[in-house]
């Protein structure tokens, strides 16, 4: 399945990418993240949370959306 991955803030800077389409064979978000670590080694030591359908989800969550968003620590206000 094709998934759109979005990167915000520091993460888009270290990956050099704001948005990409990624071919994923399915499974948990943790599995997807492991694959993204291979594609973007610069992500490995970065703190982030993952949103699916605009909600933060634990990494063990099954991937069900075709869009996954990686969010560094929030620093609004």
């Amino acid at each position: 399945m094709q998934i759109t991955i979005k990167y915000f803030g520091l993460l888009s800077e270290v990956t050099g990418c704001k948005e990409e389409v990624y071919e994923f064979s399915g499974g948990s978000i943790a599995k997807l993240i492991d694959e993204l670590y291979v594609k973007h080694p610069s992500l490995r030591n970065k703190e982030f949370q993952v949103a699916q359908n605009q909600e933060l989800v634990p990494l063990k969550t099954e991937l069900i959306s075709n869009e996954i968003v990686l969010l560094p620590p929030f620093s609004g206000g």
Partner: protein
């Protein structure tokens, strides 16, 4: 009660004092209000390793952020007896000394507004996906971390 879903709380660039004044003036017809409480976040010219922050550039995961703002509004009206509430957050460049966050709550009585405003601001800080890039005078930058 003025709790309909806003299109967007984001504004491009800094929030001007005229905009805030206008927002205050609009409440003069709401004569059940006895107390307003306003929080303003202002960009600090922090000095970090001898370099001074000259501006913050804000980006956000906008769809999720607007949803979160909406959830925070709903939860706040649920918890506190408020007449109205307004939230505005900047996107893009906001210079040191300029205002990047404007939260405005109003109620018949003062006790409510103090509790409600602090609740809203803390919720925004912790739950809304907004990202600040601190830009130094030499154009280098670092990503802001809230505490």
């Amino acid at each position: 009660m003025d709790n309909k879903k806003p299109k967007s709380v984001f504004k491009q660039g800094a929030i001007s004092s005229e905009f805030i004044a206008d927002s205050i003036a609009k409440h003069q017809t709401k004569t059940s209000i006895g107390a307003h409480n306003i929080f303003l976040g202002q960009v600090r010219a922090d000095v970090i390793q001898n370099k001074t922050v000259s501006a913050i550039e804000y980006t956000a995961y906008e769809e999720m952020a607007n949803n979160k703002f909406h959830e925070i509004r709903e939860a706040t009206f649920e918890k506190f007896e408020l007449t109205c509430m307004h939230i505005y957050h900047s996107l893009g460049l906001v210079k040191a000394g300029e205002i990047c966050l404007f939260v405005f709550v109003s109620s018949p009585h003062r006790k409510m507004v103090f509790e409600a405003l602090e609740y809203v601001v803390e919720e925004i800080k912790s739950k809304v996906p907004v990202f600040g890039k601190e830009i130094f005078e030499d154009n280098s930058h670092q990503w802001k971390i809230n505490n």
